[in-house]
């Protein structure tokens, strides 16, 4: 997947990765890799600024926990605003991708959404 396209949708990708439940940075990156079928080749370190930015915007909350191995790690979870933002962005993305799919000659179904 093109790097610039990926950067433009990084916030949505991170929010979607946290939809399943709270997770630390490494687990978020693993979820992105697994759920995207390893299609996204992003520098893993760039996910952390996105997590901080989303927390600052009130879409994520975070807390420190101590793992079984004794390492301190920060766990992120979606806030109510984050859940709402994810639902909104998902709907916008769905409309957009259907429109592009239709333009590119796919089976566009006007008025229908995923």
């Amino acid at each position: 997947v093109e790097g610039e396209m990926l950067k433009g949708h990084l916030d949505l990708i991170v929010l979607a990765a946290l939809a399943a439940g709270p997770a630390h940075g490494y687990a978020v990156i693993e979820a992105i890799r697994r759920r995207s079928g390893e299609a996204f080749d992003l520098a893993e370190g760039t996910v952390y600024p996105a997590l901080h930015r989303l927390q600052q915007a009130g879409l994520l909350s975070s807390r420190w926990v101590t793992s079984e191995s004794g390492r301190r790690r920060r766990i992120y979870s979606l806030t109510r605003s984050g859940q709402r933002a994810l639902a909104e962005r998902r709907a916008v993305w769905s409309r957009f991708s259907q429109a592009i799919f239709g333009l590119l000659g796919g089976n566009h179904r006007p008025g229908k959404q995923a």
Binding site: G25, E44, G45, Y48
Partner: protein, 228 residues
């Protein structure tokens, strides 16, 4: 190898020590876990691979810099608006105090006082409006994803607006000081305790805002060096 990488990242984030501490802890946790899971012939090779996947530290630091600057700007904006509210409350307390101690202005200084009061009001409302508008602008704008030219322009606009608001507020406090001297006179008395104490609080608050703006400017300089 991981330690050297983290040192590099820490050095790049030195403009915000608390952010650097948090980022280093998170990056260390990530890199250690990734290296432990990496199917590599030896630990050194595992660390090399996970560091390569984590990315260029300057790119990561530039992204964190944008977040740090936006967070600090918000903090300055909130502090500025709270100071404006505090200055207004303290002005009201002073006016009430002058009524309590029955201290009207002398006839010969009334004209000067009227002029100073006009400047005072203009300066205060200029500070209040510019502070609130800047805070609303910060709340409305999305945090830039990276410390690029757009981010630096945004920071320059916000810092200039804060400097204007703080300068106006300082002018208002200066006018309040002149008005107090016109009422009470240059010799200290018990009647001056409340007005002087309230002015000291205002000056300390403005000093704190100037300090926060200076921190923001220093961080912005460090960030522009990162962006180049």
């Amino acid at each position: 190898m991981i330690a050297a990488y983290l040192d590099q990242l820490r050095a790049l984030l030195r403009f915000d020590p608390s952010l650097a501490k948090r980022v280093i802890a998170e990056a260390q946790d990530h890199l250690e876990e990734a290296a432990a899971r990496e199917p590599a012939p030896d630990r050194r090779e595992a660390e090399r691979r996970v560091i390569a996947r984590f990315g260029d530290p300057s790119l990561i630091a530039a992204q964190f810099a944008a977040v740090s600057l936006a967070r600090h700007s918000r903090r300055v904006g909130v502090a500025l608006v709270l100071t404006v509210v505090a200055v207004m409350a303290l002005m009201k307390i002073r006016v009430a105090w002058y009524d309590v101690i029955q201290l009207p202005l002398n006839e010969e200084v009334r004209e000067i006082a009227r002029l100073v009061l006009t400047v005072d009001r203009l300066a205060f409302w200029s500070a209040a409006v510019s502070g609130i508008v800047t805070l609303l602008y910060i709340a409305r704008e999305r945090t830039p994803a990276v410390a690029d030219d757009r981010c630096q322009r945004y920071n320059r606009r916000v810092t200039t607006a804060f400097a204007w608001a703080t300068g106006s507020l300082a002018m208002a406090v200066l006018c309040d000081s002149v008005l107090m001297v016109l009422r009470i006179g240059p010799s200290p008395s018990n009647d001056a305790i409340v007005p002087v104490a309230s002015l000291v609080i205002e000056i300390v608050c403005i000093g704190a805002i100037i300090y926060l703006i200076r921190v923001a400017s220093r961080r912005a300089s460090a960030v522009s060096a990162l962006a180049q």
